[in-house]
């Protein structure tokens, strides 16, 4: 019998006194409490959804007669610079914010391309990259012409694939 007792003693689970167990339970409960406080603070400091206002929808930005003097027009859509292009009957609208690092692009009439002066990027008349340190094309805007007035709209579905700062800038306006 003594042998059995010896083996039992050897294989006994490590002894945990009542005091140790209570201390452990208190510590675990304490961690939950700490987590509740920390997560509440982070949640408090995170702006609520209702504060995340988006811009979007149709906005009137100009009239057709403005194109008599120039082929390209610089306009503003909720604080965001955009470029309106007219080539004979063809009509195009782009965001004037370069998707590389956010400089303002302009139309270069001599080279028949969009130019970003910050890092020497060129885009063709459809907004595709010809040359420069980026892959993303210029963001084309939706547009409609009703009589004389031109309205444009941010195409939210086309923002996928652009850098996050660009997407957030576009949906927040300036």
């Amino acid at each position: 019998m003594d042998e059995v007792k010896a083996i039992e003693k050897e294989n006994r689970a490590p002894s945990v006194s009542r005091r140790k167990l209570l201390r452990l339970i208190t510590a675990i409960l304490g961690l939950f409490g700490l987590g509740a406080i920390v997560s509440s603070v982070v949640a408090f400091l995170t702006p609520p959804r209702s504060a995340l206002k988006k811009v979007g929808g149709w906005q009137v930005v100009g009239t057709l007669s403005e194109f008599k003097e120039a082929q390209s027009l610089s306009k503003v859509y909720f604080g965001l610079p955009i470029l309106l292009m007219k080539e004979e009957a063809e009509f195009r609208v782009f965001s004037a914010i370069c998707p590389h690092l956010g400089c303002i692009i302009q139309w270069d009439q001599k080279k028949k391309s969009f130019l970003c002066p910050c890092h020497d990027a060129f885009f063709d008349k459809h907004g595709k990259v010809l040359k420069g340190p980026l892959k993303d094309a210029l963001l084309p805007f939706e547009f409609k012409v009703e009589g004389e007035t031109i309205s444009v709209k941010l195409p939210e579905e086309k923002l996928q694939g652009y850098p996050s700062w660009f997407r957030i800038t576009m949906i927040s306006g300036v």
């Binding site: 995170t46 995340l52 206002k53 996050s164 957030i168 306006g173």
Partner: protein
């Protein structure tokens, strides 16, 4: 006749027995090797921090952390308030100087090997103090609400947004919403004048406590 300072100290000693607490802190001889410029950069940084705290409090009496009021109130401080241009100028240029003295301080500590045990925790607290300096600079830069401050913040939060997974959340967290707008000024103002100074003072106390307990590393 005893001088008024010794009268005052006797008066305080009779009541609270302050000598027992203060003399180990104040009655310390500065050894000769410490009387060199290379041992002064931490102290210079601290002096500049005190200047920043004082001028910052003065500026806070007039500054308005709003889109409409920020730039105007700073123009008001600079142009209208008596000596406002001086207080603002000191706050502005001392902030640049702090970065200089901090970097020199850090380099001297590094090249003297003073960061090694047993002083490694002083170094660690110093690294956090350096990060705090950057946080002060970043938040303070926006508060002028001019073109430079606005775009510097756009670049800063834009960099944060490029972090994988949490980037967008972090950007919204920093800005208080999409875009750098009124919530961003509010956030940066509170951080700049309340949260960061409290953290700074706490870390400085720890930093100085460790230095006083261990002494400055002696020359080779």
């Amino acid at each position: 006749m005893a001088s008024w300072t010794s009268k005052l100290s006797r008066w305080a000693e009779e009541r609270w027995r302050v000598k027992a607490i203060l003399s180990p802190i104040l009655d310390t001889e500065v050894t000769d090797y410490k009387k060199k410029v290379r041992f002064c950069w931490g102290g210079m940084t601290f002096a500049l921090i005190v200047i920043e705290l004082l001028t910052g409090v003065f500026l806070a009496y007039y500054y308005q952390p709003t889109v409409k009021g920020a730039f105007q109130s700073i123009a008001f401080i600079t142009d209208q308030v008596h000596l406002g241009w001086l207080v603002r100028g000191i706050h502005h240029y001392a902030s640049y100087l702090i970065i200089v003295t901090v970097v020199v301080h850090m380099m001297i500590v590094f090249f003297r090997g003073a960061y090694k045990p047993p002083r490694e925790m002083t170094w660690v607290s110093g690294v956090f103090l350096l990060l705090l300096c950057f946080a002060f600079s970043f938040t303070g830069y926006l508060l002028t609400w001019d073109q430079r401050g606005y775009w510097a913040t756009r670049i800063g939060t834009g960099m944060a947004s490029e972090i994988p997974l949490i980037g967008e959340y972090l950007m919204i967290f920093l800005q208080g919403g999409y875009g750098v707008k009124q919530p961003t000024i509010t956030r940066f103002f509170v951080s700049h004048v309340i949260v960061l100074p409290v953290m700074l003072i706490g870390l400085l106390v720890a930093h100085f406590f460790m230095i006083r307990r261990q002494g400055v590393k002696e020359p080779f």
